[in-house]
Amino acid sequence: MSFNRLELSAELAKIAELRYTPAGIPVLSFHLLHVSEQVEAKLKRRVECDVPSVAMGQLALETQTIAEGTQVKVTGFLAKRSLKSAQLVLHIQTLEKII
């Protein structure tokens, strides 16, 4: 059994213009700015990260209506940006606003 699942709470940022694949699937690229406190080697520490993310299909349309700066909770999987790239992109599977 293999796993690829990431759960993150973050601020929605740098939302790109909505685009479509040639077959007409909507694609929305954005970044997730995450800040939290985690435990590492039994020590508390602060964590910050900026995660390039993408949402497709209905999720892309829904995310587009959310303002930048909104706190969201997402789940998704990681994939390389392209075959030759080392950069990872978070592909969103669920996204909900944190009120």
């Binding site: 694949t21 077959a23 007409g24 699937i25 694609v27 994939a79 940006r81 075959l83």
Partner: protein
Amino acid sequence: MTETMGEILRVALDVPVDGVFDYRGNGSGVAVGQRVVVPFGPRKQVGIVLEVTGSTDVPAAKLKSILQSFEDEPPLDSEIFALLKFCADYYQYPYGQALLSALPGRLRQTEPATTRKQFSYALTPAGMVAGVDAIPARQAVQRRVYAALLEHCSLNESALAEVSSCWRKAINALLENGWVKAEETFAGLRQSLTASSVQPELNQEQTHAVNAILAESGSFKPWLLHGITGSGKTEVYIRLLQAMLADNDGQALVLVPEINLTPQLEARFRSRLPEFPLVSLHSNLGESERLQNWRLAQSGAARIIIGTRLSVFTPLPRLRLVIVDEEHDTSYKQQDSMRYHARDVALVRAQRRNIPILLGSATPALETWHNAQSGRYGLLSMHERAVSQSQLPKVVCVDVSKVELRDGLSPHLIKAMRERLDRGEQSLLFINRRGYSPVLLCTACQWIAPCMRCSSRLVVHLRQGFLRCHHCGHEQKIVRQCPSCGNPDLHPTGHGTQRLEETLAKLLPEARVLRVDRDSTRRKNALSDMLVAVHAGEVDILVGTQMLAKGHDFPNLTLVGVLDTDSALFSPDFRAAERLFAQLMQVAGRAGRADKPGEVLIQTTFPEHSLFNALRRQDFPAYAVSLLHERETAQFPPYEFLALVKAEANDYSPVHRFLQYASDTARELGNEVLVYDPVRPQMERLKGMERGQLLFQANNRQVLQVVLRQLVPLLRAHPLSNKIRWALDVDPQEF
């Protein structure tokens, strides 16, 4: 065994067998050159009588009778027989098939070939007396038709159609009143109401060309008219036609490369040469119209015949002059059945008729140029543009490896287009790739959408949501995800006309952009409507493929941008550089044709390539010298003569066995011809067929012909001959 049994007809049939067939004539009185219907196996076939004789080798019991004959139809003349016999021999094609395929479609059917009757109309004395005021003012069309008839005496249907689109109703009313009478005419001989007899002044070079040809107009002489774009070659043609057809009943054949170009040239000839009945012949004509025009040529009633390659075989009893416009054009080469080259056939025809032939081009084929240089053809050069103020365009290469492109466009080109837009002038972007983008790519796994039937990639047609193969026509919906890894985010990669159109809409939103390619001109008359819009100034930027490169004159066009031509610099085809140069010269010729100077911007990664250097100087002769040198070193045409056997089947193994047999056999037939090994062409699979080819090379046409003449019957007799598809291409243009 020879028996005598009344009248025997020797008939040529459209069957893939070399030879003719004997039938009983049954006293039909049919003459040589006329059509008959004969039984052939279980079917009926149309044939042409080649000979009427008294004896045959066929036993009486096996000899069949003709079923029908068309002795009322005008017979084909012996010149056409001889010409097609020559072609059938040279191109190693069955004579009967060659002969029948040169006829209009209607004459290949087993029915009598009739054409719709057409009439011309004139006012009767009663009509003259009545006067236009006798027609009620409400009947505006009747009044217009009446006025036109009064002015021109007699008008035919096409001329009346120019008066009004509903002329027929008006004419019928006038006929009923007895004011107009109808007379049957030939339909193809159109009159035009807009004849203009303004003769532009010839410049010195044009005058020299016309005089040189006229001085030797009585016998066979090939001329190459090498004139840069805009040097006024058409005017030379017109003067020659005027001079050589006046005061006699001679005919002239004018070959043009493309159907799209016939209406333009036709209109110009009609208005300048209204005294000579003119017909056009090309495959876009309806069957009935084509037959009619063909018959008009055959009868001698048509004096000028404009046509595409197939019209080179039209019977012309009083032919005096042959003109081949854009003689380098590849569309003169027939690519299936009998693979003839219309320019070469025209040369043979002119030689047999002992008349002059004029080949016109800005970038002659190297074969032709070589002949002109060696003195076999007379060379007439025109280096100046006919309109004296107009200058040659400035050609600039933009090194795209040094600048950042925006969707395929360099900042230089965008700036140049913006300047034209501000000045109210037109620009043309030339990109020889239709569709949105040539490749659909999955960036996650590098999958590229392939054609399942060809060794090619599918082209993205984004707006229609289709992927299309431009080789076999296969079409499918754009896939929702990569079939290899499942990624939905697929990327159209590379630029086609549609994408360029979209990019321009973003970069220059105020510009009116018109895309001209095979997709946007599919509707009938679409292209001519578009050209009208361009001339009317309703378009700022044209985006087009090679469709736009030829012949069209846009006086307000001052910028030509050329995109993505580099791939042709590395083509394995030895003619690629020659063709690219010809094409770029032609496209460049679109810029600055009137009084405004033109500019050509070529985006390339190799701005110092010798091809671009020659193009910058617009120096065909210098480039031809270097290309001919290359050809001589590499032993390619025009220094060597080639023939190619092309074969294909669902599976490659029989193709290979057949070609190997051909190769082995040809080697046994003599060592003067260089016989290569069977190879796969660049496009290994096409339309689901696995392809192979075999090349022959010799430094002498005759030597090659001798081997081919012996080889082809052996190939036809080979057991695999009927199991695969194969053809012989003599002097091939495509590999």
